[in-house]
């Protein structure tokens, strides 16, 4: 790369051809790094009557990256270069038909799933879009730049790179009609610096949990609050059963869970059913109701790819549902094994392994060895394996999926670990072992726990307090990892806290808490000046 001057004497970066840049790549110049939070593509098509049609690609599950555009190999450069390798433009000539699109290739280095941010974070450093070196930058108005033009029989077709500022959603939408392969490189040095910076941030400075927003409006206790994975929406469910939900659920809605795409919301109710809601923009529509449990459904969870749903109930069973097309859901499996009320069910963040925790004081792990949908209980974590001595209320995984935290009526949080690389490589089931127990921090039932993507564990309990814990980073060969209390927010609510959940946004450390006092509060973890 080198710096060049354009006609108006401003500098910009220019990409040279080299082995790693395909001649059909596209580049966007001179966009200040700090302004970019969102990059997308728009496809401008010209239809048969010569009218220019603007359309955004139908996202479905085609997210490629979940990071803002990053800087070039010159760390001081203000410019950003967005590189997408091997961009193959559509052929000129001939008209465009609706079906005239190349398919997005399923190459492994292209499909870093939106729903597997952990895997993504391991490899992502920069996403570049590089135009052929002899192309000049074409600046559109404001935030738009063109990648290039293709001439078709019915007129010009323009590929635009749209850059917009969006505080929430960081991602790419792929341009229909172009096959794109994205390559990732691991920059260990940058990662180390970033992690060090964040750790120092956590341990050396004074941290406070500041209430940034209070959401009132429920007239009864709030059981659960869940952040949408892709947009700034928070779903909360309450005993008060709002007007919309009342038509579907006849009793308390106990918990809710967004699908990985953020388009669907599943709600679990004491009326024994689980409802699936679709986000239609200005309202939610119930597209399906799953029946089968004998009594109250306590929890619902989507797997990483959104192809399976799991529910659990006081009837002691865990059900796995297959997500078929056309709003159809089929019961794939009924798992018995717990001897009491099952409180929560949760899929592993990267593997199709299911976890459940129960009033019977145990955590069970369910897995289908042959991938044929025949799930079995492959492990039970009980008191004999350093497990809990009373009802286990919640489970949460770290971003990498190799550690999990559970919380209980026994007033403790427990950290567990497993060698999941073994499972990723297909060597069979890797068992979970107890790593650490956190006790003495809450003196009433701990109802909820959540592990943030930057490794802070939050807990919410019946003592009205929120606890935050971090790895002490002291590697004790005998006792294993240990965790320290980062801070405890006493009287975070006026009554029991039923749910805590970190926001998926990487921009700031936001935590949502839901309580018996009918409120949902949003907190920000900040350093005190």
């Amino acid at each position: 790369m080198r710096r060049c001057s354009s006609g108006d004497n401003t500098e910009f970066l220019k990409i040279e051809f080299d082995d790693s840049v395909h001649k059909h790549s596209g580049v966007l110049y001179r966009v200040p790094l700090g302004n970019i939070n969102r990059v997308g593509f728009k496809n401008h098509r010209v239809d048969s009557s010569g009218i220019l049609i603007q359309e955004l690609v139908d996202r479905r599950h085609r997210f490629v990256v979940v990071k803002p555009v990053l800087s070039t190999n010159n760390p001081k450069a203000q410019d950003t270069v967005v590189v997408v390798e091997k961009l193959e433009p559509l052929c000129a000539g001939g008209g465009w038909d609706a079906g005239d699109y190349s398919n997005f290739p399923d190459a492994p280095d292209a499909a870093v799933a939106r729903h597997a941010p952990a895997a993504f974070d391991e490899v992502f450093v920069a996403l570049w879009v590089v135009e052929a070196a002899d192309e000049r930058p074409n600046h559109g108005g404001g935030s738009v730049d063109s990648l290039g033009y293709e001439r078709s029989a019915s007129g010009w077709v323009r590929f635009e790179l749209v850059v917009s500022i969006d505080n929430w959603f960081e991602g790419f939408v792929l341009l229909v009609g172009l096959s794109v392969i994205v390559r990732f490189r691991r920059d260990r040095e940058r990662e180390r610096e970033r992690d060090e910076g964040r750790r120092m941030d956590l341990m050396e400075k004074n941290l406070e949990l500041i209430e940034v927003q209070k959401l009132e409006g429920h007239t009864d206790r709030v059981w659960n609050a869940a952040w949408n994975p892709v947009s700034p929406i928070l779903a909360s469910c309450s005993g008060d059963n709002s007007t919309v939900l009342e038509e579907t659920h006849t009793r308390t809605v106990r918990s809710c869970s967004w699908s990985p795409s953020g388009k669907l919301l599943a709600t679990a109710s004491f009326d024994g059913t689980t409802a699936i809601w679709e986000d239609l923009g200005d309202e939610f529509e119930c597209i399906s109701t799953l029946e089968g449990h004998e009594n109250e459904v306590k929890s619902v969870s989507w797997n990483a790819s959104g192809s399976y749903l799991a529910t659990c109930s006081r009837d002691k069973s865990v059900w796995i549902w297959e997500v078929l097309g056309g709003n159809e859901y089929d019961c794939a499996s009924v798992l018995n094994g717990h001897t009491q009320d099952v409180k929560m069910v949760l899929w592993h963040p990267t593997l199709d392994v299911l976890f459940s925790c129960s009033y019977d004081n145990t955590i069970k792990v369910w897995w289908s060895e042959d991938d044929d949908g025949d799930y079995q209980c492959v492990q039970t974590l009980d008191e004999s394996t350093n497990g809990h001595s009373s009802t286990v209320w919640a489970i949460s995984f770290n971003a990498a999926g190799d550690k999990m935290v559970t919380c209980s009526d026994d007033l403790t949080l427990k950290i567990w670990g497993a060698d999941i690389s073994m499972m990723h490589s297909g060597e069979g089931y890797a068992p979970w072992t107890h790593l650490c127990t956190l006790s003495g921090y809450h003196d009433r039932t701990i109802f909820s726990t959540h592990w943030s993507s930057d490794d802070i564990i939050a807990s919410g309990a019946g003592d009205d307090a929120i606890g935050l814990f971090v790895d002490s980073k002291q590697h004790d060969p005998v006792n294993g990892p240990s965790y320290n209390l980062l801070l405890k927010k006493e009287k975070a609510h006026e009554m029991d806290i039923n749910s805590v959940q970190w926001s998926p946004s990487k921009e700031s450390r936001l935590l949502a808490s839901a309580s018996d006092d009918g409120m949902v509060k949003i907190w920000q973890l900040e350093t005190t000046p």
């Binding site: 009793r251 308390t252 004491f270 009320d341 009033y359 009433r444 039932t445 006026e494």
Partner: protein, 154 residues
């Protein structure tokens, strides 16, 4: 005829004299322990037409209050070891207290140690908030509980 009542012959105590309450004792929740017994001791037993106090299920010692932390512990004594109504009595206590106490009070309910064969199981159920809420949403249970707590006594 005693159709299916487990404890057909409960021992019934005379109702304790209600002391005339002075102005001071009414007002706020400082003297909460004495006011509490007032709320709960007249709860009717699910099986017999007597109050929990009359059946010695509850007494003045039943309630322990922690004023600073706003926590209350209620201990009750089912009339017999295998009382099947233990959980119902517990639910009645919870439902009644929810009506009477400030919302932020935390209530723990237990059977008196040694008074019930399934002591741990009953205690666990009565102190599982989610189970209590679900039970009280059950129309049949709710009706039974309402009958017990809506006493005609003053």
């Amino acid at each position: 005829m005693t159709l299916g009542l487990l404890n057909a012959n409960p021992v019934v105590q005379a109702k304790k004299e209600r002391l005339a309450r002075t102005q001071d004792q009414h007002r706020d929740y400082d003297g909460l322990d004495t006011l509490d017994t007032k709320y709960v001791r007249d709860i009717r037993d699910p099986e017999h037409p007597y109050s929990l106090e009359q059946l010695s299920v509850l007494s003045e010692d039943s309630i322990t209050l922690d004023d600073k932390l706003n926590r209350i512990l209620i201990t009750f004594t089912p009339t017999i070891q295998h009382c099947r109504m233990a959980t119902i009595i517990g639910l009645c206590l919870r439902a009644k207290l929810k009506e009477c106490l400030p919302l932020h009070y935390k209530v723990d309910i237990r059977v008196s140690p040694g008074s019930h064969a399934d002591e741990d199981s009953v205690n666990k159920q009565l102190n599982d908030k989610e189970r209590v809420v679900a039970a009280l949403e059950n129309p049949n249970l709710r009706q039974l509980v309402d009958e017990c707590i809506c006493s005609n006594e003053i």
